[in-house]
């Protein structure tokens, strides 16, 4: 019987949740790295017991951890994220130019085939790569050359939070950056171009359809349809069927199209999930009801999934890296909240139960299936 392992990063440490295929009875292990912010902890598809964790804090900065035994033991790897050449400047809140400054690693994306190859998305926004299991990191500087001087940090920081490696083209990658937008490379990261056509940010940007500057919160893709992307923007849920060349809105009947994460079902490439949040100024669910919304039509038509979720007095948020799916049949869906709950649905979202209720605010959730 397969083992399910859920990796949870929180404001005060990492936790590892374990169950079997039933996903009913869980053990909770942790905190690992207690007291530290774990923006992301993830496993390596090519070597599932190799885990990486981004460990950071205001006092002591960035630490990178790696485990080769599924989280039993950890060793530090390099935390030297040095921007290529002269770092240059980006736009600051007052319109002036501000030097690029490394703050933390937001997202880690291991290669699906090479356990030593891993990408890191950082704040201030940039993309780094390691080909030696995290012992050294090298920036892919072409990304910041795409009008980086016009990027401006949003409220959560100017973070590169989404990295998608195209499953059918090793030279194609997508990244997303808060308050900068979505970008694509077709040459392995040497050159990039914005892929934001169709996004509209009427109240956030002076030019609503600007080439860069859109506050993209998360992007997802099903591996069987590498040209179809789904995006949760600051406001609006969007879809592209041409690898980001153009986007159209699929918010449909959502109660709010503001939110942070978006995910796609493991076996149904047209089934997607979002967690609507009231607004940019009210980061909690509409009407105090925690509802995951599912669309089986790739957007536009959405249904509320509520069974097992609190439907009154609930004012938590679900952050952009805190929604995940597993690959079992039926597909498991997981999310963590800023209130410290981690919920699981073992039936594609129809029914939910809390795995754990009182963790620190959850920053990231990833699911692994082990043989």
């Amino acid at each position: 019987m397969s083992e399910v392992r859920v990796l949870v990063g929180t404001r005060k440490g990492a936790f590892i949740l374990r169950s079997n295929e039933q996903r009913k009875d869980w053990t909770v292990e942790g905190p690992h790295f207690p007291g530290w912010e774990i923006y992301h902890i993830t496993g390596t598809p090519a070597a599932p017991n190799r885990l990486y964790a981004s460990q950071s804090g205001g006092w002591f900065g960035q630490v990178m951890q790696r485990s080769d035994d599924g989280g039993k033991t950890w060793e530090t790897v390099s935390n030297e994220f040095v921007y290529d050449g002269v770092p240059g400047t980006h736009q600051w809140y007052d319109g002036s130019q501000h030097p690029w400054e490394f703050r933390r690693v937001w997202h880690l994306e291991p290669s699906p085939t090479d356990p030593d190859s891993i990408y890191a998305g950082v704040e201030d926004a940039a993309l780094f790569h390691s080909n030696d299991g995290g012992k050294t990191w090298r920036e892919l500087p072409g990304l910041r050359g795409v009008k980086g001087n016009l990027w401006q940090p949003g409220a959560g920081g100017m973070c590169l939070h989404t990295i998608i490696l195209s499953p059918d083209n090793p030279n194609r990658m997508f990244v997303a950056i808060s308050a900068a937008g979505a970008f694509r490379t077709d040459d392995g990261g040497k050159t990039w171009r914005p892929v934001n056509q169709g996004l509209k940010s009427e109240f956030e940007l002076p030019h609503a359809t600007a080439e860069v500057g859109h506050c993209v919160h998360s992007i997802t893709m099903h591996p069987s349809r590498p040209n179809t992307l789904f995006m949760q923007k600051h406001w609006d849920v969007m879809r592209s069927d041409n690898a980001g060349d153009s986007w159209h809105e699929v918010s449909g009947n959502l109660p709010s199209d503001f939110g942070f994460p978006i995910a796609v079902h493991a076996h149904e490439p047209n089934t997607i999930y979002v967690v609507p949040i009231t607004s940019d100024s009210h980061h909690f669910p509409p009407d105090g009801k925690l509802r995951v919304y599912r669309s089986r039509s790739g957007g536009d038509e959405w249904e509320a999934l509520t069974n097992g979720l609190p439907q009154s007095h609930c004012y938590v948020n679900v952050l952009r890296n805190a929604l995940a799916v597993d690959s079992l049949d039926s597909c498991g869906i997981y999310f963590g909240t800023t209130g410290g709950q981690v919920y699981v649905s073992a039936d594609s979202g129809d029914n939910w139960m809390p795995i754990v209720r009182d963790l620190p605010p959850v920053l990231s959730v990833e699911a692994q299936i082990l043989p």
């Binding site: 006092w59 900065g61 630490v63 530090t76």
Partner: protein
């Protein structure tokens, strides 16, 4: 031997439970102590000083012999009692609450 005390999080990271002892060549300065500390405990690189600029991180303080040495130049000799191993060089996480 130079005695160095670390804050809780860095003791956990370095996998030590108490003060660490370091052999530091003369002249014994803040920079020399921190260089020796990072050489002995490479997992601490970047957590006390910026990995690139080698400047003290903003919320780190250095105390010794009842004095705050945080703003002393890195290449000035530390107090004689620290250099003699009689008093520890204390690395502190600054108060940063609200």
């Amino acid at each position: 031997m130079i005695q160095v005390t670390l804050p809780t999080h860095l003791r956990a990271l370095a996998q030590v439970t108490g003060p660490v002892e370091l052999q530091v060549d003369e002249p014994i300065t803040q920079r020399a102590i921190l260089d020796a500390l990072e050489a002995a405990y490479p997992m601490l690189r970047g957590t006390i000083r910026d990995a690139v600029t080698r400047e003290r991180r903003p919320f780190i303080r250095f105390f010794a012999c009842g004095e705050d040495l945080s703003h002393e130049p890195a290449d000035v000799p530390v107090p004689p009692d620290v250099a003699a191993g009689k008093q520890p060089f204390r690395i502190i996480g600054a108060m940063a609450g609200g």
